[in-house]
């Protein structure tokens, strides 16, 4: 029941991830990067995925794109299972899903001119008319706030980080995709440039009608652009919920920890003596049961024996915890 690639299915979520597991070998051990993650993103929504380094969020993003094949689980994009696709079918699907990376300068081939870089997706997807390509490149560069005349003939190293990120965004947009995965798009940029790029992403989302998966480790940044937020720890989801609600009333102890740890630029807010204990365990040998239990002040025997599953504790807010901060145990 293969539907033609371009026909959307109405009503269903645009992206549905079911029990995704991603592992890869490291020497003779296995890194359990993602261990059974399920989530949904509705059309036009921005889902923020937040977590610290090693939690698997970037791996999840790549696995959704099938740049890293999952060990098991499904990724349903517009109803079609990406994990079951190969070769040309997968390549055609790729036009609808794009990726923006953390390091904007490394994302551009240092020896190609900007005009060629942005035209590349058009060439790959078969736009043969050179004039048409040129026009599309000009349009998209203008949309991201760069003057095409000044930019097209240059090489990436002539631009700053912020400008390179704009170019990467332009490249992602030129095929008019439906879904963009942003993998730490502003982490490598200066504070004043971050705000520019975040504003730009919001604008592009509105203009092109995009759905976004926004991956970052900075909670404030994630909150600024997301409708819903998912918190990830050591390969599993801890909590998912609407942005404002989640930050105002976190249900998972880890979410609360993250929020507390954010340095607030206000001298009156004395930073609380952090309750964060210890370091995240290694994804090679994650703890049994709830993975956060080694650092959680509320952990008990049940947390060690039983892996908590996501359940709803407040309207549209789901938490995977035996002793959540809100809602009954």
């Amino acid at each position: 029941m293969m539907q033609p690639v371009s026909q959307p299915v109405s009503g269903d979520p645009l992206l549905k991830v079911e029990n995704l597991v991603v592992e890869y070998p490291l020497g003779n051990k296995t890194v359990h990067a993602v261990s059974g993650v399920s989530l949904e993103i509705a059309r036009g929504e921005t889902l923020g995925l937040v977590g610290e380094s090693g939690c698997g969020k970037s791996t999840l993003g790549r696995a959704v794109m099938q740049l890293r094949r999952p060990a098991s689980g499904k990724v349903l994009f517009d109803g079609q299972d990406l994990t079951a696709m190969q070769g040309d079918t997968l390549r055609r699907m790729r036009r609808r899903v794009q990726l923006i990376f953390q390091d904007p300068i490394a994302s551009l081939n240092p020896r190609r001119r900007i005009g060629d870089i942005i035209a590349e997706p058009l060439i790959i997807s078969g736009v043969k008319d050179a004039k048409k390509r040129e026009q599309l490149v000009h349009d998209v560069l203008g949309a991201v706030g760069l003057d095409p005349q000044l930019v097209i003939g240059r090489l990436p190293h002539e631009f700053s980080g912020g400008q390179c990120q704009r170019i990467c965004i332009a490249r992602a947009l030129v095929l008019n995709p439906e879904f963009i995965i942003c993998d730490e798009p502003v982490s490598a940029l200066d504070v004043s440039i971050r705000a520019q790029i975040l504003n730009l992403l919001e604008e592009m989302k509105a203009r092109y009608g995009l759905t976004l998966l926004f991956i970052a480790h900075d909670l404030a940044v994630v909150k600024a652009v997301s409708d819903r937020v998912a918190v990830m720890y050591l390969g599993r989801l801890c909590e998912v919920g609407p942005s404002e609600q989640l930050f105002a009333q976190p249900a998972h102890p880890y979410t609360a920890l993250l929020i507390e740890a954010i340095p607030v630029p206000d001298p009156d807010v004395r930073p609380a003596e952090s309750v964060a204990v210890g370091e995240p365990p290694s994804p090679i040998a994650p703890p049994s049961g709830c993975r956060f239990r080694t650092r959680c002040p509320r952990a008990d025997q049940r947390c060690s024996d039983e892996m908590p599953e996501l359940r709803e504790v407040a309207p549209a807010q789901f938490v995977a915890c035996h002793h959540p901060l809100i809602g009954a145990a």
């Binding site: 610290e52 404030a220 807010v269």
Partner: protein, 331 residues
Amino acid sequence: MTGPALLSVEGVAVDLPTPRGNLRAVDHVDLSIGPGQTLGIVGESGCGKTMLSRAILQLLPKKAKLSGRVIFDGQDLVRLDRERLRKLRGRSLAVVFQDPMTSLNPVLTIGTQLIETLQEHLELDGVAAKMRSIELLAAVGIPAPEQRLMQYPHQLSGGMRQRVAIAIALSCEPKLLIADEPTTALDVTIQAQILDLLAREQRRRHMAMIIITHDLGVVAGRTDEVAVMYAGRVVERAPTPDLFKKMRMPYTEALLAAIPKIDAKPHTPLPAISGRPPDPTRPLKGCSFSPRCKYAWAQCQIEKPRLEDADSPGHQYACFRPLNIPAGAPA
């Protein structure tokens, strides 16, 4: 700040020759810090804060030209001979860098690096140095310190490595610790732990500390004074509460506004600063921030503003059109 300054930076300028012309990385900076105090230096990449810290430590690249004076504990470091400078560094003047993976020697064990430092500066014998190393590792919160002595940096996590770097820095009881982006490479929960650790150790040892960072949030609750740098100059300097509440320099205001706040509603557009920092090889005639400043007028483009005193003590800013925010009112 009462009493003589522990460190006094006077008119320091750093010039770097590059193929594109002279690069003025630091442009006449004056700073001072007293014993036991904490100074935060805030700025974005390219503002010169790292070069400034290198200038203080006299660790500039060979081609760099330094002018001005750096008076530490009564001695001008710029004029000090190499031998005495070496004895000073590590002993009274310590540094913690951003990336512990590169500031720790990857082929030496933690123990070797710690013990080496102790033996060099405090002239302890092997056994005493080892005991002290274990004490230090425990003090910075590293579990099972005896085992750690045998480990190599790559076997530790980023947070652990940074703790080791701090242990090495603190080992000789320095009077001043310079922390150059100490937590930028770390996760936010580990960042909080490391900053707490630094604050705790500082209080215990009555040590002065300079925290260099791009994150205003890091300096807000943890410093006595903050200096904001832009394009090689200090553009505003004030006791911390005054800087956040009574800022005068539009750049400070813009920087603060551009940070996404955790209590803001999602999808509120952020007040971004348009444009980007100037090319340091082509310095502007007037104020470096003027092309991006929404308050700039003619004078700002012709003349460079000098640091002037504001009404509150210890507050200085460099601007022809400062903000007039009354104390307490929201921005």
